[in-house]
């Protein structure tokens, strides 16, 4: 075993670049996942079969196929027909799209969890559809939805190194190129430890949030 702290020192500037890219991908990816997931969830509740069915089929398909292959698909196949995007953009879109199918389920369960009496009360008060959603249903659904959404952000963090495979310079991408240039492996270990250091406090935070929001 040979561990050289100098190598770690050399890697540090690049490591912080990688952390920034990872966090950036995570932030934008989460926003996409949260927004798109809500769209899927509402579409799945649609009364029209021709809206509901395709959305259910597409989300099931995306959820049951590997993110890695989806990234390859977005990066190598989609440019044949449509826009070609940079590795990082592709990665962010891929992460967001993949996780939107999970968040859709979270929203669905959160909305279904609002007691039927709340809907009936809104009808009895003759609130409009928009008002029912805005002031009655969604505020109650949100507190059930926040902790699981947080969990998916952590899960996304752990899947984010996959974007290195299509050439984005996140933590893993930086570590890989650094290791290849210097024939060392300390960088990989540093990144591995970094994941635990980021993910563990984050999961503690979400547990605390869960205790407060879900009674």
């Amino acid at each position: 075993m040979n561990w050289d702290w100098n190598v770690v020192d050399d890697f540090m500037p690049r490591f912080w670049d990688g952390v920034l890219v990872t966090l950036q991908a995570l932030a934008v990816g989460s926003l996409i996942a949260f927004a798109l997931g809500l769209v899927w969830a509402l579409a799945q509740r649609s009364a029209r079969v021709w809206v509901r069915w395709p959305v259910v089929a597409v989300t099931e398909f995306i959820r049951n196929t590997p993110l890695l292959v989806q990234l390859f698909f977005l990066f190598y196949v989609v440019p044949n027909f449509g826009p070609s995007m940079s590795p990082l953009t592709t990665g962010i879109v891929g992460l967001g799209l993949h996780y939107s199918t999970y968040t859709a389920e979270v929203y669905r369960a959160g909305i279904d969890g609002v007691p039927a009496g709340q809907w009936e009360a809104a009808t009895a008060l003759s609130l409009s559809r928009g008002r029912t959603w805005r002031v009655v249903i969604l505020p109650q659904a949100v507190r059930r939805v926040v902790p699981p959404l947080g969990n998916y952000v952590i899960a996304m963090l752990k899947d984010s190194p996959m974007i290195a495979t299509i050439g984005a310079f996140d933590m893993l991408g930086e570590a890989q190129t650094f290791s290849n240039e210097t024939f060392t492996t300390e960088a990989l270990t540093v990144v591995g430890v970094a994941f635990i250091v980021i993910a563990y406090p984050a999961s503690l935070l979400i547990r605390a949030l869960e205790r407060r929001l879900v009674r």
């Binding site: 049951n64 993110l67 292959v69 199918t101 369960a109 279904d112 969890g113 969990n151 980021i198 979400i206």
Partner: protein, 260 residues
């Protein structure tokens, strides 16, 4: 489009490798899940602590980074693993950690009266576990294990980046060779979906059997594909703390946030 020669030399063996990796990693993961899950309910605090630490570390770890680390860094510590086994161990270790939470949760969900009855009958701890607790917890574990297996199947695509020739690897080879991307990657996605579907069917069957074994009727489930009742759970959710029961319930207030 791919030549038939390519198909038989790379693609079909690739599918077989994917299946092999899934099965081996699932077996390793199951051993770890049960070992750690039981250890986390141990009476000795040191056993609980070690198992808990294992769970926290491997749940916080990215499977891909772990795989890279085992493939590139472990040899320098004097331990050379074959790529295939590096992949299998990385997947088994990560998903085993997630699985331990399912085991712990569903064992904890067995009604306390059952355990007390076992004590009253003067069963040893091992007898209680084997004859009373596990048979009742087992059907509860099925739906979350199904979700986990599908996550594992999706995770096997990662072994292609450490040069294991699974079907994703074959797809990438074809891309490099011919620049044809659309048919290969579409085929790959469909294949993974089909495998996931097969796993779900198999697990449903197991669940029905397990429930029949303890005289319960399987709950009716609608829906297409692999939804398997509950929230499409990604493992490692902290919300899954309360365990398997909360996750496997159909949509309801309890299935969000795992429970309390």
């Amino acid at each position: 489009m791919m030549s038939s020669e390519f198909f038989t030399t790379w693609f079909l063996p690739g599918i077989w490798i994917t299946v092999q990796v899934t099965v081996c990693a699932a077996a390793l993961g199951a051993v770890i899940a049960f070992g750690t899950g039981l250890a986390r309910g141990s009476r000795l605090w040191i056993v609980r602590f070690v198992a808990g630490a294992y769970f926290e570390v491997f749940r916080g770890m990215s499977a891909l980074v772990l795989m890279f680390w085992m493939f590139f860094a472990l040899p320098l510590f004097g331990w050379q693993l074959e790529p295939l086994w590096a992949g299998v161990s990385a997947l088994g270790l990560t998903y085993g950690a997630y699985g331990s939470e399912i085991v712990r949760g569903s064992l904890a969900a067995v009604p306390a009266a059952q355990k007390e009855a076992g004590i009253a009958l003067d069963f040893t701890r091992w007898q209680r576990l084997r004859l009373i607790e596990l048979p009742q917890a087992w059907p509860e574990m099925m739906p979350p294990f199904n979700n986990l297996l599908i996550e594992l199947l999706k995770g096997t695509a990662l072994v292609s980046v450490i040069t294991v020739a699974d079907m994703t690897f074959a797809g990438n080879l074809l891309r490099l060779g011919t620049n044809e991307t659309t048919p290969v990657y579409t085929l790959l996605l469909v294949l993974y979906f089909v495998l996931a579907f097969v796993i779900t069917r198999g697990m449903r069957m197991l669940e029905r059997r397990a429930k029949a074994g303890i005289g319960e009727r399987p709950e009716k489930r609608g829906g297409v594909g692999t939804k398997s009742g509950g929230v499409g759970t990604k493992p490692g959710g902290v919300g899954a703390r309360s365990g398997a029961r909360g996750e496997s319930l159909p949509a309801g207030p309890r299935s969000v946030g795992g429970g309390r």
